[in-house]
Structures are given as C-alpha cells and as structure tokens.
Subunit: 425 residues, 2 copies
C-alpha cells in the first residue's frame, strides 16, 4: 500500500471478564482510533485471561509482529500479583516503590476518607527498568518499556484511566520514537440502499482508486458507512478528497452525512447551524432518542425537553391524543404519531419534533401489526412527515433501527426547510 | 483447576473496522457468554484485519491452542473474495453453489423489491468440504468445518445473524462433539466500597475457596461485581452456593443484587414483584434513565411515561418547580430535584419517581458547583430521599455514574417500603 515502513501495533487486553463476556471491550476500539489518527496501524487485537501462560504467549507473539505493544488491564489491586511481576520478569527488572505514584494513591484515599490498604501501597511498586506513567486518575501507575527498538506500554483497564495515560504519555512517546506517515480518513454515511447496491453503484470509481487509497464498507442495520483511507508518505500529494468527492456525488441521493459522525451528531450540527430546537415524544423508544441527543455536549442549545409517553394515558393526558383515535386506530398508527409530534412541539416550544410509536417485541405483536411495526412522525411549524417501518430484528435492534429512521426523517425535513442545504445533490 | 480436560475456544474476528476502532466488537462478549454457559472456556479472542496473512496466521495459531475456532466477519458481499476462498483453500475444498442458501438470498431480495446482484449470488457459494449453516436472517451462509478433532465455524459479523446461527447450529454441534463439564457462575453486585476494600473484607473466605472455584472482581465506576466460577466434573458435588452465600452475608450492607443482572433489571424485577410503577424527571441524564428501563421487555408493566426537563422552562411549566426556587437555588439543587420527583410522580400517576439535575460537563461548571455535581431525588407517596454526588469523570461516565446512583437510591427506597425484602441483612 505504501513504500514507507508501516509502524504497527498490537493491543493486548488482559482479563477473564472479557473472555467470559461479562464486560464489553471498548478500550480496544478507542485505542485503535487514536493510534490510527497518528499514523500507527493496529494489525491485531488480542484478549487473553488472567493466566501467566496466556499473557506471556500473547506478549511473545506481539513482539514478533508489531513495533508497539499496548497492554491494558491486569493492574487492579486484586490482580496485582500477576501482570506486573510478569512484566518485571520479562524485562529483567526488580520491583521498587515509586514515591510519586504512592503520593497520588494516598491523595485518592484521603479525598474519599478511607484508610489506605497494603494492596493499594503495593500498586505503587513498579519495575526499575520501566518509565513510570503517572496516573492522576487512579491507583495503578502506567508503565513504559523499550527493548530492541520496540515500545511496550502497560496501562490500567479502567477506560477513564487508560485514556488519560494514553493522551498524556503514550501517543507522545510513540511520535517521538517513530517516523510516522500520515493516515487520512474520509467517512460518509448512506441510508436507503444495501451494501452490495452501494458497491455496485460506485464500482468504477473503486476500480480507479490508487494503491495508496483503500475503500471499506461498514454496514449496519439501516445505514451503510463508507470509509476511504489514504496512507501518505512524507511530501506526497493527497488524492483522497478527489475520490471522496466523486463517491459523494454518485451517492448524493442516499447520502446522510459526509462527516465521520453519528446521526444524532448530524442532527445536532444541523440544529446548531440553523439555530433551531427539537423535542421528542416517544412511545416504544422510551427516551432513547432524547438520551442520544442529550448525550452530546452542548445539547441545551437545541433540546429543552421531551416526553416519554409509553402508556396511552400519557399520550392522551399530556399529548392530547384523542381517546377515540387511540381506541379506533390503536396506539401504533399514523394518526397517533402525527398528534404526538404536533403536540409535543407546541408543549416544548420547539421548532422540530420527532414522535414514535411501535411494537419492538418480543411480545405485543398481532397479525395486523406484527412485532417490528413502527410509525414515525417528524413535524415542524409547517408540515408533518410520517413513515411506516417494518423491522425484523430483536427488541434492541428494532429500537436502534427506529432511532436511525427517525433521525434520518428529521434530517431530511430540516434540510428541506432551510435555505442552505448541508449537502449538494 | 479440574482434572477433566478443558474444552477451549478461540474467537477470531475479521474486520479492519474493528482494528481502526470505528466499530465496537460486541460479538466477542456475547459468544464468550454463551460458550461459557455450555462449559466451553474461551481462552483467547483475536481481531485481525481483512488481510490474507493476518487471517491465516491467526487461524494457524488458534488451531494449535484451541479445540474450537469461531470466526466471525469477513463474509459480507463486498469482502467475499477474501475469507471464504481462504477457508476453502485452508480446508482443501472447492467452491460450489448452495441452492438452499440461494433460495434464502432470493427471498430477501424479493421481499425488499430489489434486483439480485451477482455479488449476492456469489454469497451462496460454499466450500464443498463444509457443513452449511443456513442463515435465515441474512445473505451470508455460515460454515462448519472439522479437522483433526477440532471444530471450526465461520459466521457473518452482523450480530443479529451471528446470534441466530450460533443458537441454531453452533452450540448444538459443540455439545454433540465434546463431553463438556458443567461450568457454574454466581454473580453479585455491590455499591459503596472500592474493589480493594471488598477484597479485604472477604479475604478469609477467598483463602478457603477450593481449587474448583475461582473468584473474580469486575470493578466499574460505582459498583464492584464479584463472580464465582466453579468447574464441575461429571458427578462431582457443587460447593459454589455454599461460598456464594458466605460472601453475600459478609457483604450484605453493600449488596445490590445477588443475580447476574444490571441495576435497571434489578429495579424492574422489584417493581414487578411489588406491582409498582416508576417514572423519571430527568435534567442532565436527558432520558437515559427512562431509556434503560424501557429497553427491557415487558416495561409497560412498570413505567407509563417520563419527562425530560433539560431546560428550566420545562422544569417550571411541566413540573411546577417555582421560578423563585430555580432563581435562588439554581437548577442543580436539592429543592429542585425534590420538586421534580414529587411532581412527576403525580403527573404520571406512578408509585415511585426518580429525578436528577446536575452538571455532567465538559462545560457548565462553576467554582461553587463544579462539573460532576449531581443532585438525585427518589420519591414515593410517603417520602423523598435525596443524594448529592460529586463525580470526576467525563460527560458519558458521569452520566453512567449518575444513573447507577439513582437506580441504587430507588432500590433502597423500594426495599425499605415493601414488606418482603429481596435480600437478607
């Protein structure tokens, strides 16, 4: 792909709880992103349990294949007797007490008014052959080792602590040690066509891509994301925007966003851009739409409130859906979501509203309205647009699909009503 | 740990999007759980990119260490030219068209009124040396191979499809092929003490655990989960409940639940047990509490509706929080959450309510109320209980911490008010 030497990394995660599936690993994805952004190629992620053989085997293997080895987990106070002594032995050091780390640990216990325990003091011990990465966010210090031109980092598994150490020390140490090429990404999201149809539509453009640019499809339930990646040697010209633009033009009618952002982020940026506010009236999604919008920092600029109207009584009392409509059409009907969308927009004094009512399953379906039947309405002061969906997933995937369809319907309405469309086409 | 031969599995995931961190791998955790439940020990999870060398290397390695190799991903219509031919070559077969799979693919395209493409027809091709696992949920058939006493499965990466094939075929094939020991788990959740303090408190019990039982800590931001795992040989007696009970007794005052369930699930089971309903009035969490409760199947029995009152105007108009209180005490205050909790309970006709108002960050903090300041109130017809929290994480972790504290406060109130406490102590 490039004549330049690729700097590669293995992310090695330690923890039985990950193998047994009680915890979902989000550290690996986050590390993959930030490493990739500075031009490091993660070529492998490995999860092993809390066993000496497993960890040593994975460490040996990573050493033969990668320039950088990042180990997360295994440093908690109750696991302390495995990973750290093992690394100490692997790199031929001896454990010594690290005073600055001990100070941090003492401070944490003082702030929480708890007595410090021997296992916590032991967390301040580090191999004398490592560079200590001071962890201001927790009790386990990070460690950096170097051998045969390779860098090794051992970081705690708690995401908040791992991220702090990575941002403060790890990325800088890597950039100092290696001459990294630039890696550029361009990502777009489409909705409305399956992966193979999108691929067919841009096949000729894909055939013309130079070796330095790679196209990947990231299919989801309702959306297909496309990502171009260009590995750029120092001084070389970039062609990624040229091809990205061609693909965008070709897919303009199904294009949702040409940024690497989620649909809620896309809605937030449109609302901020046009200085508008949104609200939601949610039956089956039960607050999930509002929660996604308010999860974003700065949400108070574009959402003031929402109503979860899971039960008909709430639809009737708070959202003025007439009892006759509920009785004759049913809660999952176009009439009901139209009234929910209209009324919540007025109730919350918003410019736009989204309303959903549906049957996400596994129970509650009928022959006439099977599980997966969802009505969506989006409203402005000028119009109401509705959509009927039939999903065939399980409860949580049906909720996710509903959410994506609702956000996309709102996006189209906002773009149609505002003078400067975000996207050409 | 056991004299019985342990049956081990490697989960091998294929996909650049996972290495680059654009997608979080949830398949591995799910597979880890279901395999563990039938007595298979996952000893390694590996993620590699869409490269022949990467996949082959990981496959060789998995073959030397595990009895079962489960491969997910790499079977999408646009990736079809890599993983399947590679497996075909690895197992020495030739690709043939599999008619039943083609029928399913045709059916999917007919239902969505789209023309079938050559790449989709190609998805129905399988190596003639595999057992085809018919995928009723998508276009990529699963494949099962066997060699030298080991089982190999290749499954699509889309979670919904992967789960369907695993439940229908994979688990049964494994149980037929291997004599599996029983693996028992007991999990409890505690809140209020850090991992090392919990460990210290039960150190003597841990020292007495037999070799067949292992204790693991699964620490989180606010909660510490403990898991006992027992590997049971056929005919052997189980001691796991004996030790689990001892630990429960010792930790009774910080025990949240002795089931392997989340806090929202714990709340749901209490509400169902006592036939009560809950509602939420959410400022900073913006619908996240309601969304977690309604994500559970059967939620309509215990939640009828909720209000997101992100802005003061909504707190004032819909939840009757007096303007003077908002002006003098501020939105993040005990007085405000008390009024929110009281009023939303009445508005929604619920037995219990939760209200939260806080500053999750990164902006909005002051010297007097820094980022991480959160007031929580829970109310019943008889009383209101409040709690002031100071979190020091980022926005999403602060939201998660708020949510856990709010659910736990509600749990205590429900248990205190109802005649039959769920837990002893």
């Amino acid at each position: 792909m490039s004549y330049m030497q690729r700097i590669t990394a293995t992310i090695l995660t330690i923890g039985d709880e990950l193998l047994i599936g009680q915890v979902i690993d989000t550290n690996g994805a986050w590390l993959g992103q930030v490493l990739n952004n500075i031009g490091v190629w993660v070529d492998k992620r490995v999860v092993v349990g809390d066993t000496k053989d497993g960890i040593l085997g994975a460490l040996h293997e990573a050493t033969t294949s990668s320039d950088i080895i990042i180990i997360t987990g295994g440093l908690g106070p109750t696991q302390d007797d495995l990973t750290k002594p093992l690394l100490n032995e692997y790199f031929g050091g001896k454990l010594i007490l690290h005073e600055p780390s001990l100070e941090i640990i003492k401070g944490i216990f003082e702030r929480t008014h708890r007595p410090i325990l021997p296992v916590n003091i032991k967390q301040a011990e580090v191999p004398d052959v490592c560079t200590v990465l001071l962890n201001s966010r927790g009790t386990a210090p990070g460690m950096q080792f170097e051998r045969d031109g390779k860098l090794y980092f051992s970081l705690p598994g708690v995401p908040f602590e791992m991220k702090g150490l990575t941002e403060t020390y790890v990325l800088k140490a890597i950039q100092q040690k290696f001459a990294l090429g630039e890696v550029l990404h361009r990502t777009m999201t489409t909705m409305g066509l399956g992966e193979s149809f999108v691929a067919q539509r841009i096949a000729d453009i894909e055939d013309r891509l130079p070796d330095s640019i790679k196209l990947a499809y990231l299919p989801g339930h309702q959306a297909v994301r496309l990502r171009l990646t260009e590995v750029l040697e120092p001084g070389a010209s970039s062609f990624i925007d040229h091809y990205f633009h061609q693909i965008k033009e070709r897919l303009s009618e199904i294009l949702v966003t040409d940024q690497d952002i989620s649909l809620p982020e896309c809605i937030a940026s449109l609302l901020l851009k046009y200085n508008k506010r949104v609200t939601t009236a949610e039956s089956c999604t039960g607050g999930y739409l509002a929660a996604q919008l308010t999860a974003l920092s700065g949400a108070s600029a574009y959402i003031h409130g929402s109503v979860v109207s899971y039960d008909n009584a709430v639809k009737e009392n708070l959202l003025q859906v007439p009892k006759e409509v509920l009785d004759t059409k049913g809660a999952v009907s176009e009439e009901v979501v139209i009234q929910m969308a209209k009324q919540v927009r007025i109730l919350m004094g918003a410019d736009y509203s989204m309303a959903v009512s549906g049957i996400l399953g596994p129970d509650g379906g009928t022959d006439y309205k099977p599980v997966g039947t969802v009505w969506i309405a989006v409203a402005s002061a000028h119009e109401v647009v509705t959509k009927l969906c039939h999903f065939r997933y399980d409860r949580l995937h049906n909720r996710e699909a509903t959410s994506l369809q609702a956000f996309n319907l709102l996006r189209k309405l906002i773009e149609a009503e505002n003078p400067l469309p975000e996207f050409p086409g």
